[in-house]
């Protein structure tokens, strides 16, 4: 598995997957739907899959002496590494926004989503959607990725819209502030649990699909 991960990082990954981690910094933009940053991180990961197809990565990998299931697991681990790194960067910037910049004028009058613990949970949900819709969809053929990615775009944009709208509903304003931290923490933990479960199930499904396809 270590060798496969080295292969993913050194040969298969597009540099854009790493560069697009910078979109985690969208967390700091006031008056903007900052959750879109998570979508851009996924777009960066998508570039690696595009590069993989162009470089015959899947064929190269299945010819190596290893189990096919591990080829899928290595892709998932790489994707989770990018996603969790982006989430960690967003968490650091969220902490800055919630503490040092808490009373900064652009954030105090921000009509859009604020960066807080719930926002981090929403990011995890976007990543879960990517893993379920795109990753598992890709391994249906290990070649075609347009349809899975379009499904992800539609669902993730709807999610961004819903998450932006939620805090405007009566009784849900706490979703956008720095108050009721225990409730926010519970939401974040639930979203992280959804991410972990969805990714594990998606990986299992992708392995089954990859085992039966002809390359």
């Amino acid at each position: 598995m270590k060798s496969l991960l080295t292969k993913e990082m050194k040969l298969a990954a597009s540099p854009l997957s790493y560069l697009f981690l910078a979109f985690a910094a969208m967390t700091l933009i006031p008056g903007y739907p900052i959750l879109v940053g998570a979508f851009f991180v996924c777009l960066g990961i998508f570039q690696s899959f595009q590069a993989c197809r162009e470089s015959n990565d899947i064929l190269y990998t299945v010819l190596l002496p290893m189990e096919k299931a591990n080829a899928v697991r290595a892709k998932y681990i790489f994707v989770c590494f990018i996603e969790l790194t982006a989430l960690a960067l967003a968490a650091i910037l969220t902490a800055v926004r919630m503490t040092l910049l808490r009373d900064a004028a652009p954030y105090a009058s921000n009509p859009m989503m604020n960066a807080n613990l719930v926002y981090l949970g929403y990011i995890a949900l976007i990543y879960a959607e990517f893993n379920v819709l795109f990753l598992s969809g890709f391994f249906r053929t290990a070649y075609k990725f347009a349809k899975p990615f379009v499904s992800f775009i539609i669902v993730s944009m709807l999610t961004v819209g819903v998450c932006e709208a939620l805090h405007h509903f009566p009784g849900l304003t706490f979703l956008n502030g720095c108050e009721r931290l225990p409730a926010q923490t519970a939401i974040l933990l639930c979203c992280l649990a959804v991410y972990a479960l969805a990714t594990a199930l998606s990986c299992r499904r992708a392995i089954c699909r990859f085992e039966i396809i002809d390359l």
Binding site: S3, K7, K10, L11, S55, L59, P65
Partner: protein, 247 residues
């Protein structure tokens, strides 16, 4: 002696094409040419025996072991090169080789350097900077550097100039002398006349013959169906287009 590769009753069904049953075996220190027209099922057969496509039926054994359940062990001892397929065309060859070597227990750096020198491959280049012939040689160097006992090559000579083809056939002969076995598919029959010991011939997915090349040629000379592989293949395959177009 146990054959390095034994294929028994291999079948693969597609909606518009059906392969097999195909049976043949490859012994150590021999070169088996796998011939047939374009679309005859050569690549499907090779992909099936490498478990890249899933056969509908049949048995594939390497070194006496069924590939199912032993894929990892088998692939340590088998090398595959798909002609001029270039993996990671924009990465440095040195990086590709360094990563590839991590997967093989018998990876031999000294042998790799020897092959790269002999084939004049600069590891600082990227695969996209190589000619078609050099790409085949790079794939071959990768396969040989883990001391593969059996090399499976899909159309390695297609698209090469006559000099590169001749060089490649020389390399095959050298490897056979070293004890390796080679199974390579081609539709260029003159390549087999020069180096193959055995041939397996398939036509429209069906096995026509598999055995020693000299016996195959002798039988066809006796039957008057051709003196060499090209004539035999033309005898079996040629369609009368004048008649078809006149209808």
């Amino acid at each position: 002696m146990t054959p390095l590769l034994e294929v028994r009753g291999l079948r693969k069904e597609y909606s518009s094409f059906s392969l097999g049953p195909v049976s043949f075996s490859v012994d150590a220190g021999s070169i088996m040419g796998f011939i047939g027209r374009n679309g005859a099922g050569k690549t499907t057969t090779l992909k099936s025996i490498l478990n890249i496509v899933h056969p509908t039926g049949g048995e594939i054994r390497y070194f006496g072991m069924d590939i199912r359940g032993n894929e990892r062990a088998v692939k340590q001892r088998v090398g595959f090169a798909g002609g001029a397929v270039d993996y990671y065309p924009r990465k440095r060859i040195a990086d590709i080789l360094a990563v590839t070597g991590r997967f093989y227990e018998n990876w031999d750096e000294a042998a790799l350097r020897k092959y790269l020198d002999a084939f004049s491959i600069d590891p600082a280049k990227t695969p996209r900077e190589l000619s078609e012939g050099m790409k085949v040689k790079l794939n071959l160097a990768m396969a040989l550097s883990h001391r593969a006992e059996l090399l499976i090559l899909d159309e390695p000579t297609s698209g090469l100039d006559p000099v590169s083809r001749e060089e490649l056939l020389d390399i095959f002969g050298y490897l056979r002398d070293q004890g390796a076995a080679i199974l390579f598919s081609t539709h260029i029959t003159s390549d087999l006349d020069k180096c193959a010991d055995h041939i397996t011939y398939i036509r429209q997915g069906q096995l026509i013959s598999s055995g020693r090349l000299d016996t195959f040629l002798e039988e066809h000379r006796r039957q008057g169906t051709g003196n060499d592989l090209e004539e035999i293949m033309v005898h079996y395959e040629k369609e009368d287009f004048r008649e078809k177009l006149a209808d």
